[in-house]
């Protein structure tokens, strides 16, 4: 059995700073890492590999050159090999472009049984990629999966967390599955695994290798035009109370009363 896990490299969002207007984000030079829910997906694939025999886990990612470093974490966690699609166009591609790239890479990887993705990426959290990849490949999708069972014969069962109910969906492979963080707690790879990760195979493809280019992936194809992308205008008081605790609480209650938010 072959499981492909799609992982996205994201910037560390806790470190986003803003220009002096307080609203325009500055993203240059921020550290990158693999997305959170993608690690849940990878952890699950590795557990399946540990349970069943002859499972190959492939980490697939589309992005820019820095991925060669970031992907080592996935290999250290236990992916057998990685496939990277690297192209400057991918840095500015939209969901449709990324999905087209991943779908083409999945076709080139050839026979696989389950493709796992995160429910949403750390940064954009649109959840568009899993659905678009599934649609492009004409495969069923099971999204928002919090419990996953893959049998040796390739039968997949995913429990989806919906608003008011849990829904168990069964499907024969191949199938596209997106997962949430309830699934598991991703392992922290031991140092020895991190050292060995550098020796695992990493294949690098370009968009051209996949028959894709500026016409199909990239900004000129952008389907959605961004008019602005700013932090909401903040207007919090940011008042840290001082004095002894009793005094702080008295002052707090006076302020809350004045604002009419407690009765």
């Amino acid at each position: 059995m072959r499981i492909v896990v799609c992982l996205k490299e994201v910037i560390d969002l806790a470190q986003v700073r803003f220009k002096t207007d307080g609203r325009t984000p500055v993203l240059d030079g921020l550290p990158v890492r693999l997305g959170a829910f993608e690690k849940n997906a990878l952890e699950e694939a590795i557990r399946i590999k540990e349970r069943l025999t002859e499972v190959e886990v492939i980490a697939l990612s589309a992005g820019s050159g820095r991925l060669k470093e970031s992907i080592k974490e996935a290999l250290a966690m236990g992916a057998d090999r990685a496939v990277l699609v690297l192209d400057p166009l991918l840095e500015i591609a939209d969901s449709a472009g990324v999905a087209r790239t991943l779908a083409a890479a999945l076709e080139r990887i050839g026979s696989w049984d389950v493709c796992l993705l995160g429910e949403g990426s750390d940064d954009e959290y649109t959840g568009q990629t899993p659905s678009r990849v599934a649609a492009l490949l004409g495969l069923p999708q099971i999204t928002n999966v919090r419990e996953l069972d893959i049998a040796g014969d390739g039968r997949v069962r995913g429990t989806r967390g919906l608003e008011a109910e849990l829904e168990v969906v069964a499907c024969d492979s191949p199938v596209v599955v997106s997962v949430t963080s309830e699934l598991n707690t991703p392992r922290l790879p031991p140092l020895t695994a991190i050292l060995k990760a550098g020796r695992k195979p990493v294949e690098v493809w370009t968009l051209a290798d996949l028959g894709l280019g500026p016409g199909t992936v990239g900004p000129r194809e952008a389907q959605v035009e961004v008019l602005s992308n700013l932090a909401p205008a903040g207007s919090r008081k940011n008042q840290i109370l001082d004095g002894d605790l009793e005094a702080q609480i008295e002052e707090l209650l006076r302020s809350l009363e004045r604002e009419g938010v407690i009765s």
Binding site: L13, E124, Q128, T143, R157, V224, S228, I240, L252, V261
Partner: protein, 330 residues
């Protein structure tokens, strides 16, 4: 533009979106709706009071499970046949993954969770959280067909109007999914509606153990509010149900008062509290980002601050009880 198609697996959202579309009819063209799945005919009947001029009804067995690929197949056919240019979908869990599936089938651009929706000239402009919630991306879909999934609470609650709209039985091809729903389980009862609460006490990993929950429950009670939490307390630890979880992947709230306790203030969480009128933060770390999101901050241990705050609040309310609470008991 030649018309809007509205769909949601949650009927009230479909009604809201339908009424919104009907109000923009001059610009966006005729509003139509699709009602799919179990009891579709009956639910479509209820939909007639919300402004759609045609309501397509499909209860074919292939769509009763509401699986994304089957539903997208029906909607795609309606879009083509009715020359629809805008599809509005309720951004429930199902809606969020249905919208991009439909978009890909139609080679269309998609916004999968709009939290703002408005018309600027002849364009539909949406807002969605971006960069993990650090920013709001305002955008418009420029493909000939636009797919927009709209978060609950984004447009006004619809009030039923005159009953109109023709019911039309969907007669196109319905392709079943290769997947199948084999079981449904109710989640443990939904107890509360965080999105509409006026006062919230939101607790994070500063809470050391599940046994300590009464500490924050007491404060919530003293405030006349509800307990909410960050993602780890619900998803990772299971101490509180998911419906109390606030953030980009949980509830968005807009209470008058939110008291945030032992929460670091990561952006994926704070995006959900932006609508609060007043925010109080209690955290041991002076540098915790939550203080930048707060109106009032107390730097301190929640195990000391919260009981004191609760006692003072109870005291204020009960007049005489105030004395009691501030005096040593015994």
């Amino acid at each position: 533009m030649s018309g809007v198609l509205v769909y949601s697996d949650r009927d009230d959202l479909a009604h809201d979106l339908s009424a919104w579309a009907a109000a923009q009819r001059e610009v966006l063209g005729e509003p139509t709706a699709a009602v799919l799945g179990a009891r579709a005919a009956e639910r479509a009947e209820a939909c007639r009071a919300y402004g759609a001029v045609r309501i397509h009804v499909c209860d074919a067995p292939a769509v009763t499970d509401l699986l994304d690929d089957a539903v997208a197949g029906v909607l795609a056919e309606l879009v083509t046949r009715e020359q629809i240019s805008v599809v509005l979908i309720g951004a429930t869990r199902r809606g969020r993954s249905l919208a991009p599936r439909l978009a890909q089938m139609l080679e269309a651009g998609c916004v999968s969770e709009a939290v703002e929706l408005g018309l600027e000239g002849r364009r539909i402009v949406t807002g969605r959280y971006s960069l993990g919630g650090n920013t709001i991306s305002r955008e418009w879909v420029r493909t000939p067909i636009q797919i927009i999934a709209v978060a609950p609470g984004t447009v006004e609650r619809a009030v039923p109007g005159a009953v109109g709209g023709d019911l039309i039985t969907f007669e196109g091809q319905v392709n079943a999914s290769r997947a199948a729903v084999i079981e449904r389980r109710d989640k443990p009862g939904l107890e509360t509606n965080i999105a509409d609460s006026e006062r919230l006490v939101c607790v994070g990993r500063g809470l050391a153990s599940e046994e300590d929950l009464p500490l924050v429950q007491d404060l919530a009670e003293a405030l006349g509010g509800e307990v909410a939490c960050t993602r780890p307390l619900s998803y990772e630890y299971g101490w509180l149900p998911e419906e109390r979880m606030i953030g980009i992947s949980g509830q968005k709230c807009s209470p008058k008062l939110l008291v945030s306790i032992g929460v670091s203030g990561q952006v994926q969480h704070t995006v959900g509290i932006q609508g609060a009128k007043t925010i109080v933060a209690i955290n041991t770390e002076k540098g915790a980002p939550i203080f930048k999101q707060a109106d009032y901050g107390i730097v301190g241990d929640m195990y000391e601050v919260v009981p004191l705050l609760t006692a003072r609040l109870r005291g204020r309310r009960g007049g005489g009880a105030a004395m009691k609470a501030s005096q040593p008991q015994e």
